[in-house]
Amino acid sequence: MSAISMKVNGKAVCGAVEPRTLLVQFLRENLGLTGTHVGCDTSQCGACVVHVNGTAIKSCTALAVACDGAEVTTVEGLAKNGKLHPMQEAFREHHGLQCGFCTPGMLMAAVDLVNRKGKTLDEATIRHELEGNICRCTGYHNIVKAIQAGAENM
């Protein structure tokens, strides 16, 4: 077991993990942050996207030990002081979610997209940038609308 520490959603945390423990396991099982989901075993679906040091990654593909010392933001860390993040608000406003399972990963990918590409996003860009996130419910139509609106309000 290796001792690791990191800052998750602004809070210092530590734990003992096996070398093979994935970041997503550490978040879900050690920290009880079950908002980050596991939807596949091939890093395709994107339900597990979180931010590590400000960049979106798939937490099913990162070892927890490799994130020792990192700053991690999960979906639980998006809202600040009880106020929803504009992207969360936009997903609600535009019905960008149905079953909610892919939603945390979609939100984290969307925020990262705006961080990288700015607030003005056209439909084609958003669709292309969502290549790493699968949704089975919404047909993406409202997710695209939500991201466009959320980006403008960020």
Binding site: T42, Q88, L97, G100, F101
Partner: protein, 786 residues
């Protein structure tokens, strides 16, 4: 703000999902929990000669290993198929045994052979790899078209691997119609096998409490009460009052979570075997591919007979339907009563005859998947109608219009009585929205860019809210298909609605609350919808077949009628007026002709303090229950128009326009309904262009066992959709609702493939029409032309 019927109310459930506070089964952990991992067959068909465990060391963390022998020792019954189908010769379907852990034989790659229970997930998985199973490999068959002539004998009870040979309709009348035909269109169609892929993999936590001799199962179910019923009555694990089934937040279902699966039953059964420690199992995505019930997999020959003016005289078809290696929970009704009964489409077809042979193959079981039988029916009808129109050189819209059912009720030759609809209205609206008239110009413009542009229609009809119970019982259903509801008004006037429907993305917490808000004039935020727990909700049939609106909400509506009736009586006593003088409007009871008034909440309080009415006549409290059994199916219908552009060099297809005009009857929340349509269309586009389950015929292995191999539609594969609605009320339920959950998936494959064949100028093209498939077709067409 309007929160009643028809309002675009934002979803109440969203807050927990967008903040990461949803509670899915895998998010739940019970004290002292163990983990299960299943040993699965690597062979498509094999006898199990022996199962040996190594000597486990303490660090292996193994708690127990169970096999079919342990299941037999405890006399745990096998998985069942709950719909009896009889063959043409009157014989009952040939259902082979389906034990929860294989007994003597494995019948598909992924079949559950043994389970390892260990202290951690990783230990369970590592130990499962060390369980030594000796197999005797048998001949196998994975292709439904080859299964009846195969050397593989999958179940002893089913010679030629045939489950049943069923038919519907009047054979002689149909043959006579074909004799009279001016033109006959023939089509061979394959409805490709799909893997449902809800984003949340299946999961379960089973636990046994020896103190009270009581079991609890947390599971990813669309119908927890049905799960409890089957586990009690057929698996014989425990009587219903000793088993609680909880389906918490469920991350999508699409049919795949209707069924009672081996893994869930094993977890709850084996918990007692290990002294009551909870057992958790969460499917890896690969297991979802291997062992969730798949969908579709039909091979069909169809013929359509027309007179000289393009009026349809008759339709006949023969379908081979793969059942997979075992009959799943509702497998048998999908290619029969959910399929052949819809073969009349939106058209007045005088004679129809359908033959369906259900066949075992060495593949995962096949069962209901979004639409279940109705997409297969629509694909057949809409492909052959479009082909007939092209062959007879009649505009496809006009051909359809000539054949539409225009008077209601309409009795089809295949059981259904369509109750209401206006098919021409949805066609007309779709033609307008899609600018059908402008298509030739768009096609010409595309051609200049080297693109082949095509247009395709799908005028689908489906049957939802399957019922009445007595009717489905006469057709072989093992259950009734009603729904229950309980409306509990609290003394302060807040309301809990307990429903037997289950939401796994459909937004029931919002739409059901809208109904209550609308009917009782109360704040939507004072209404809570409770579902998914057999200890809370008395009973329910669950959510599938787009039934939760038409059936589930009708049950709530009935209970609300009773609440209102009792509240009127109480209000009359409190306000000292005759009951007939009480008016109820906008959440307040008033006495006609006076200024006397009581808010709904005041009447609720009066009901509970029970000071001002005779409790010998009126019981205290305000809580009512209803069981609602529909008097007919509902018949949503509509018109979808798809336009594609194909790159003539690469075979890459882009869907450039999509119009959907649907008639769902009363719409409670248009925002949610539109979302259902978007999602359904995308699943249908997936079937048409990207998704296809492939088993290797040589090895019997599943070749599409991950998202690297099975192509899920992604954001770039679909366009934004143009939606419209028409409305004819459903006359058979109090709300006039028809159902909307499956329409998109039913309409879309035919619309896409009609557009693809139009663009390419070919009669048929296999689904999924991947760029490779399209490119090969383009090359063949070029070569034929040269």
């Amino acid at each position: 703000m309007d929160t009643g019927i028809g309002a675009r109310v934002k979803r109440k459930e969203d807050h927990r999902f967008i903040t990461g506070k949803g509670q899915y089964t895998d998010d739940i952990n019970l004290k002292d929990q163990t983990y299960a991992y299943f040993v699965r067959s690597p062979h498509a068909h094999a006898t199990i000669k022996s199962i040996k465990e190594p000597e486990w060391a303490p660090e292996d963390g193994v708690v127990a290993v169970f096999t079919g022998e342990h299941v037999a020792e405890d006399k745990i019954g096998g998985l069942i198929c709950g719909w009896m189908i009889h063959s043409k010769d009157g014989s009952p379907m040939k259902a082979g045994p389906h034990p929860i852990l294989a007994q003597g034989k494995a019948r598909y790659v992924g079949d559950h052979v043994a389970v390892v229970i260990a202290e951690t997930k990783e230990q369970a998985k590592a130990a499962a790899a060390r369980v030594d199973v000796t197999y005797g490999v048998l001949p196998h068959v994975v292709d439904v078209a080859k299964a009846t002539k195969s050397k593989a004998q999958i179940h002893d009870v089913a010679p030629d691997n045939t489950v049943f040979e069923w038919s519907l309709g009047d054979k002689a009348a149909t043959e006579a119609a074909f004799q009279r035909a001016h033109h006959v269109t023939k089509l061979d169609l394959v409805n490709n096998r799909l893997i449902p892929n809800a984003m949340e993999p299946r999961a379960a936590i089973g636990s046994y409490d020896s103190g009270s001799d009581h079991y609890t199962l947390y599971t990813t179910s669309q119908n927890p009460h049905v799960a409890r019923l089957v586990i009690s009555a057929f698996h014989g694990l425990a009587p219903e009052h000793k088993l609680r089934v909880i389906a918490p937040d469920v991350g999508g279902g699409f049919g795949s979570k209707i069924f009672i699966y081996a893994e869930e039953v094993v977890c709850v059964w084996a918990s007692k075997r290990i002294g009551g420690r909870p057992i958790k199992w969460t499917a890896e995505r690969t297991e979802s591919f291997l062992a969730d019930a798949h969908g579709r997999d039909h091979v069909t020959h169809a013929e359509l007979a027309m007179d000289k003016d393009g009026h349809i005289l008759g339709l006949k078809c023969h379908t081979l339907a793969s059942m997979g290696a075992y009959l799943s929970t509702f497998a048998s009704c999908v290619p029969t009563y959910l399929y052949a009964t819809l073969l009349s489409g939106q058209y007045a077809i005088p004679a129809i005859y359908a033959e369906v042979d259900a066949i075992y193959t060495n593949t995962a079981p096949v069962d209901a998947y979004r639409g279940a039988g109705r997409p297969e029916a629509t694909y057949l009808v809409e492909r052959i109608v479009e082909t007939a129109a092209r062959e007879m050189k009649i505009d496809p819209a006009e051909f359809r219009r000539r054949n539409f059912v225009t008077t209601f009720p309409h009795q089809t030759p295949v059981i259904m009585t369509y109750d209401a609809g206006d098919y021409d209205a949805s066609l007309k609206k779709a033609l307008e929205i899609s600018d059908y008239k402008g298509f030739p110009a768009r096609k010409a413009a595309a051609a200049k860019q080297g693109k082949l542009r095509g247009i395709g229609f799908a005028n689908y009809i489906e049957a939802c809210g399957i019922a009445p119970s007595a009717a489905v019982g006469s057709l072989g259903a093992g259950v009734g298909l009603w729904e229950s509801a309980e409306v509990r008004v609290n003394p302060v006037g807040t309301i809990e609605v307990l429903t037997g429907s289950h939401s796994h993305g459909q937004g029931h917490e919002t739409t059901f609350a809208q109904l209550v808000s609308d009917r009782l004039g109360v704040d939507i935020n004072s209404v809570a919808i409770v579902h998914g727990d057999t200890d809370k909700v008395q009973f329910g049939m669950g959510t599938y077949g787009s039934r939760s609106g038409a059936v589930g909400m009708s049950a709530i509506s009935k209970a609300l009628d009773k609440v209102e009736a009792k509240a009127r009586k109480i209000a009359a006593h409190v306000m000292e007026a005759a009951e007939g003088d009480i008016e109820f409007k906008n959440g307040s009871f008033s006495v006609k002709g006076t200024d006397k008034k009581m808010a709904f909440g005041e009447v609720a309080l009066a009901a509970y303090v029970a000071h001002k009415f005779p409790t010998s006549e009126i019981e205290p409290g305000l809580k009512e229950t209803a069981f609602y059994d529909p008097s007919n199916f509902t018949f949503p219908a509509g018109c979808h128009i798809c336009e594609v552009e194909i790159d003539s060099e690469t075979g890459v297809t882009e869907i450039v326009s999509w119009t959907a005009v649907d008639d769902f009857g009363t719409v409670i929340n248009p925002m949610i309904v539109e979302g259902q349509v978007h999602g359904g269309i995308t699943q249908g586009i997936g079937q048409a262009l990207t998704e296809g389950c492939v088993y290797d015929s040589e090895s019997g292995q599943l070749l599409t066992g991950s998202y690297m191999d099975y192509c899920m539609p992604r954001a770039t594969d679909v366009p934004s959709f143009k939606l419209g609605f028409t409305e004819t009320k459903c006359p058979s339920n109090p709300l006039g609702m028809k159902g909307c959950g499956e329409a998109g998936a039913i309409a879309a494959p035919a619309a896409v493939m009609n557009a693809m064949t139009d663009a390419l100028g070919v009669k048929d093209l296999a689904m999924p029409a991947s760029p490779h498939t399209v490119w090969k077709t383009l090359q063949a067409t070029k070569m034929a032309a040269e």
